[in-house]
């Protein structure tokens, strides 16, 4: 469904993403892991088209979308969440979803429907999303006034409002409690059941190992391994690069 073909992104001298190739099949939950600064978020941004690529191609459903602007990619079914939450804090919870629906809506429908109110079906879908994200009693709060966990849920709901076929989640578990983590993995599984494909960028290993079908590992912008969760856990390079890096961080944190 999504195919990255020798994708690179350099920021000046920094090779944030370096010749990364990978393929995500329809219906998969695909994990993308790696130490901090290894290029995961940059990869997500390239798939969404927020940066121009340095070289390489992004293919979606077999089509080359490397040059497509971000909003057109969304209309094509690619939605995302941000690592550092970026809600429309000046809008209410309800409006955040309402706005996000607009981008994906059928352009055939009338101008007024699209820009004034949206249609009935759309509103029913917002209700459903609020229910799914357990935010129905917060609908009239400004998004900026939500608690952290609620903001994360709203961000995911906002991505889902566009009814994407492909969802990019950039570290959705960051800062979550054990309880919230469990709910998150349930919600991601529920998404797959509905037919979505998910690219899960994550730092929390338990979550990734638990719910992904396949994992790719980045280190310094390069893909150093790919395989099933079991294979990745057994992989020596990954241990060295990733787990070693994590151990160093832990040491640094405890020091």
């Amino acid at each position: 469904m999504l195919q990255l073909d020798r994708l690179s992104k350099h920021f000046g001298g920094v090779r944030a993403v370096d010749e990364v190739s990978l393929t995500v099949e329809r219906g998969q939950i695909f994990g993308l892991i790696g130490p901090n600064g290894s290029g995961k978020s940059t990869t997500v941004n390239l798939v969404c088209g927020l940066f121009p690529v340095t070289s390489g191609r992004v293919l979606f459903d077999g089509e080359d979308i490397t040059e497509l602007p971000t909003h057109r990619r969304l209309a094509g079914g690619i939605a995302r969440t941000f690592q550092n939450i970026r809600l429309f804090e000046n809008l209410t919870v309800w409006q955040n979803l309402w706005v996000a629906q607009n981008g994906a809506e059928d352009r055939q429908q009338g101008f007024l429907k699209r820009w004034y109110s949206g249609n009935r079906q759309g509103r029913a879908e917002i209700e459903e999303l609020l229910e799914f994200s357990r935010l129905h009693d917060k609908r009239d709060l400004l998004a900026g006034n939500l608690a952290f966990g609620e903001q994360r849920r709203l961000e995911m709901a906002r991505a889902l409002a566009a009814k994407p076929s492909f969802l990019l989640l950039d570290e959705p578990a960051a800062g979550m409690s054990q309880e919230e983590l469990k709910q998150l993995s349930e919600r991601i599984r529920a998404l797959r059941e509905r037919g979505a494909t998910v690219l899960l960028v994550e730092h929390v290993m338990d979550l990734v190992m638990d719910i992904t079908d396949r994992i790719a590992v980045l280190n310094f912008g390069r893909k150093i391994a790919e395989g099933t969760p079991e294979e990745i856990q057994a992989n020596e390079d990954v241990r060295k690069a990733y787990l070693g890096g994590a151990a160093e961080q832990e040491e640094a944190a405890s020091a």
Binding site: A79, L91, N102, G118, E127
Partner: protein, 306 residues
């Protein structure tokens, strides 16, 4: 009496000017081009009535449409840049417009007299209102009907999805793009609408003063235009009107005795207000009152739907 009517007219015209900047500011763009669109409205509407004998309504409409067309054309390149660069770019555009009218010398003969813009001398005898027997009360009422219509339109837009989209873009362009919003389309639309509203203000202004010249449409006017919505805040269209009343009645009229010191005070007060009330004079409260009303009606709708 005439003094108060004149004041009401100025407030009306400046409200239109402020609202034209308001809609652009909703998308997070600080445009200093509004005085330029205002100038286009003023000159073109004046030419229509004075030189070609148009009725006032088609003259205003034509001038405003032309202003919005120019705004649309300016919007495409200008909105590629952000922040300070946009301020500079739009400022430059405003000056170009001003210098253009500084140089326009185009007169035709009507009823035995030469009429039309005379370059640096300005455009005199835009006397549609007196020639057609409009009293000050008529003019004031006319202006306020237009102001109220524009405010209603913007208020309606504000509570529609288009309004939420504009605010989303104003808050975070990256996030807005990522939920499928076409930034260029949204920003250029806002600019075009702003151009139209500024054009309305300008064309009315030209007819109430009967004499315009390039100096009026300077950076000072552009500053006023953007200061109104900043002072009034973006929570509600009423904020801009309130800011205009505050500036025109309190700062300009009440403090008239202070002479040139007034301008300094004007700057200082804007800084003060922005510090004390970062969300504008009205603050965020009215928006919330509004949200409450809005969501209640919406909830009823959805209940009816399910």
């Amino acid at each position: 009496m005439d003094f108060y009517l004149g004041l009401l007219q100025i407030i009306g015209v400046h409200t239109l000017l402020g609202l034209s900047a308001y809609i652009v500011l909703l998308t997070g763009q600080v445009s200093m081009a509004q005085a330029g669109f205002f100038a286009i409205g003023a000159y073109v509407a004046g030419m229509c009535t004075v030189m070609f004998g148009f009725h006032i309504l088609p003259a205003i409409l034509l001038a405003s449409l032309l202003a919005s067309l120019v705004a649309c054309a300016v919007g495409f390149p200008a909105l590629r840049v952000k922040g300070l660069m946009l301020v500079v770019a739009t400022l430059a555009f405003g000056e170009i417009v001003r210098l253009f009218f500084f140089n326009v010398h185009w007169q035709v003969e009507r009823n035995g007299a030469m009429v039309g813009p005379e370059g640096p001398e300005g455009f005199r005898r835009i006397r549609y209102f007196p020639e057609n027997g409009w009293t000050s009360i008529d003019i004031t009422a006319f202006i306020w009907v237009i102001v109220i219509l524009v405010m209603l339109a913007l208020w309606w837009m504000d509570r529609s999805r288009a309004g939420a989209v504009l605010r989303a873009v104003g808050h975070d362009e990256t996030a807005a793009q990522s939920v499928g919003i076409n930034l260029t389309a949204v920003k250029v639309s806002a600019m075009t609408a702003g151009g139209f509203i500024a054009g309305l203000g300008g064309s009315i202004y030209a007819h109430t003063t009967t004499h315009v010249e390039h100096l009026i449409f300077s950076v000072v006017l552009a500053t006023f235009a953007i200061a109104y919505p900043i002072l009034g805040g973006l929570s509600h269209v009423m904020g801009t009107l309130l800011a205009v009343v505050f500036v025109q009645v309190f700062l300009v009229e009440v403090l008239r005795f202070m002479g040139d010191w007034r301008n300094m005070l004007f700057g200082a007060l804007i800084v003060l207000v922005m510090n004390l009330r970062p969300h504008g004079l009205l603050g965020e409260q009215p928006a919330r009152m509004f949200d409450f009303l809005r969501s209640r009606s919406r909830r009823e709708e959805t209940h009816a739907a399910t």
